[in-house]
């Protein structure tokens, strides 16, 4: 097919020529309109959070670092080391090695307890399946999201780390806020 230039010619619509009152409005009016928003916000004060001194509050259902729980009355661990969380985990980041409770060394409420409970946070995708799989509500997703560290091995969270309360509490946002 031969090329006909007429088909590619586009009619360009141009505005009025610069100059005059219209030109002055375009130069300053629009800019002032934008500056109105800017100065309007200025009086509201800064909204920047001074992280890490200040932290963003998270919603209660935010899925952050996992936590293991104890029974409040007896202090025994809720986890019995059943490994269902490990089975449910799509990232295969949980490792459980169970052991047997003895009367002298009663760790959990059942016959069995988790001797080793490790979560590899570098792998975890925070899907929350472990929480859903747990038959004893022993593991829940916490709210802490500050998980950065300098070495990978430090990111393997052990049972003691998961059982302990976080050093700093993450602020919570109220539902509907």
């Amino acid at each position: 097919m031969t090329w006909s230039p007429s088909r590619d010619v586009i009619e360009v619509q141009r505005g009025p020529d610069p100059g005059g009152l219209g030109g002055a409005y375009r130069a300053f009016g629009e800019t002032l309109r934008g500056l109105k928003t800017t100065f309007g916000r200025l009086v509201e004060g800064p909204v920047t959070l001074q992280y890490p001194e200040e932290k963003t509050p998270v919603y209660p259902r935010f899925r952050g670092r996992h936590r293991l729980h104890r029974f409040e009355d007896t202090g025994l661990e809720k986890c019995v080391g059943c490994s269902l969380c490990a089975a449910a985990c799509p990232a295969e980041c949980i490792r459980v090695v169970a052991a047997e409770n003895t009367p002298e060394h009663q760790v959990s409420a059942g016959e069995r307890y988790a001797a080793v409970y490790e979560i590899n946070m570098t792998r975890c995708i925070f899907c929350g399946y472990c929480e859903m799989a747990c038959p004893f509500d022993a593991i829940t997703m916490g709210n802490d999201y500050e998980l950065a560290d300098y070495t990978r091995s430090d990111l393997i969270f052990t049972k003691e780390m998961l059982l302990a309360d976080p050093v700093e509490r993450t602020p919570l946002r109220r539902e509907g806020e």
Binding site: C82, S83, A87
Partner: protein, 848 residues
Amino acid sequence: MTSPSQRFVTFEIDGREVTAPEGAMLVDAAKYGDVEIPVFCYEPKLGQPVGACRMCLVEIEGMPKLQTACSTAVKDGMVVVTTSDKVKSAQNAVVEFLLVNHPLDCPVCDKGGECPLQDISFGWGAGRSRFIEPKRHFRKPIELSPLVAIDRERCILCYRCVRFSQEIAEDYQLVFLERGDHTYVGTHDGHPYVGPFSGNITELCPVGALTSTTYRFRARPWDIENAGTVCTLCPSQCNVELTTRDDNRVLRVMARDNTDVDDGWLCDKGRYGFQLFHSPDRITQPLVRDAGELRPVSWERAMDEAVRGLDRAGERAAALVGGGATNEEGFLVQFLMRSVLGSPHVDSRPGAALDREHALALSRPDLSAAVADLDSASAVLVIGAELVDEAPILDLRVRKAGRRLGVPLVVATSRPSSLDPNAAAVVRYAPGAEEALLGALAAELSGGGESHPRQGRAGRASLHEAAEQLGMRRPSGDSERARLAGAREEELRTAAEALRGERPVVIWSERLTHGERGNEAVAALLALARALALNTGDGGGMIGIPRGANGRGLREVGCAPNMGPGLGAVDQEGLPATALPAALGRSIEALLLFQADPLRTHPDRSAWERAVDDAGFVLAFSDFRNETVERSADVVLPAEAYAEKEGTVTHPDGRLQRLRQAVGRPDGVRAQTEVLLELVSRLSGTRFEAPPAQLTHLVMDAVPFYRGLTLDRIGGRGLRWQETDAAGRLPQAPLPDRELARPPEPPEGLRLGTGPSLWASVETDHAASLRFLAPRQEAQLSPEDAERLGVAPGDEVEVAVNGTGVRARAALRSNVPAGSVFLIEGTREDNANALTDGGPRTVEVRKA
């Protein structure tokens, strides 16, 4: 041997036409049509179905009520429905009922994830329960035995464990106690359930009621991998599946069902002996003796010392190969000795050498029976072997043949056997008199003695003639041999009667060939084989139980002083193990112990003690610091456990089986084949390297009758070389037709019989869970002898011969024949080997 051919019938299940073998139970027949019927109690290995769990209810056209598919045989034209509402509501109801008293503590339960009750509740249950009343409670968990934990709350009363105890192991220990919903499993007297096969019930249990203590809470099915291999702790060579976690630890051993080998059972030694692999006592780095002490050194240093020691000895070196070695390792050891060092002294048996002609005759394919032949045998004869101690799984197989398949069993042993109650005929003879007994039995079988070469003393013969004229019993030329064997003629006669048949199978222990007159005993055995016509037609055969787990394979790859690979002739015959003690320190300088512990396993312990002390250089491949190592080894190289090995082994029936590496070796342990190849390379100056598969290829090529066998053909189930084309390459050996030599006169006095015990082994010493089974030396006496000697049951006695004594606890057994005393071989302390020397022994028993 062919089993009776099967007929097939056609029936309809869920609307499809299905063809299944006649007589199969509906549960099995349904599988031919890809229909699954849920079951708990049904297990074909346990014999007849009992229909206890009611899970398998199906609707059969023409029957008004639902039927149990596990106990209804399929018939031609049957119409079965497994998906109707009626069946479904029954299945839902059964699941609901079974869960009424089940605690549903799956998160804690060990079975969780591999539990038939979970699967069936999920697949066939209604998913809810109307039961709100309290469930029954038991104390839990409690030990049914130190090896098995029982949780009675979880039990669904399926009968499997009880049936195992009653019908398979036949120890009759487990029973149901109480009635109704109070029923529970226990031993009738409340004692722990301890038996050689108790661990099998943990594998049988369809819920988590019976769990093994060694696997308790160790892992979930998704944490583990299963690796199939072959257990080489005894000659039964059961197919096993090792459960491993993180590739470095074996957590449990499960049976890998192979009807041709083990029928899916395991003994407790095999099941719990795995703890040996991870024992803290295991040698995991090379040791060298330095100023009288074994000290850990680097591999380089140890290998330098080993090479130096062997090089210095040259043809004055000798090697002993232990039974746990694979064919490849055995082949390399004999190659190292014969071709590199030029020494003919290699042996893998604790006894005297087997004549090559006899070895060839014993290996004849027509004389050898497969394990599965026991099921269709016309009779089974067990000679000189206490199977439960020597090859435990064969004991179960013989029990199965005898009890469930109706095969008459003849037991001929000197020591009372645990198979006696199952036997159609029992022959007792004096310890060490196998030769005379076999001759007597052979003669009895070949025409009641007329053709017997040698009559007794003239007076006795004429007495028999007179007796015959008087219409009394027919004369027996065997009486002389029977007398020499210390056996009773009536017993021999009933035994011979029971054995006359088409397809008898003879199980004999190689121990009878270990003595001084071992070859005469083999000649008598072959005469018996001829008398039983084992060599003609497809009639039966023999299975010889070697002392070592791979005894047969090691002999066939050339670990014998007088036979090279493939039972071939050798230019120069070496010294057998029995002659080594006398030669060590004289004509033999260096000793290579390949997973061998002669002080514990070989007869004549005092001679060996002297010998290993005199040996100039001892190189040992060993996994533990056993006595021989501690006492004499100059260089110790760490040995591999069977879970770490690649290679092949040969079952006593000629089946080659494949060992596959399941776990990594501990740091510091190298593959033994690699180490042997390095020794060969450095000693010969030529570099040899071969990966495991190539090494197997090399061995298969070197043994004419293994030729053509590849790892692929051996596969996971093994392959008997007798059933391949290569079997024709076995050098032809006729059955000797010589007149049997006259057995020697039995010595006067109390005769000593020794035998191995399942638990007198390294596994028991080093596997923590088995340690409680380690036997104490026990002298079994007849009550008559005990009374004469003034020994009461439980007394400490000393059994002595020529001043050497062994302390033992006296045990009186009414079935021990008077005039014999029995001790256990291979115990850690008070080993009976101190008293044996290969010949018949008479001992003195006195109170210690």
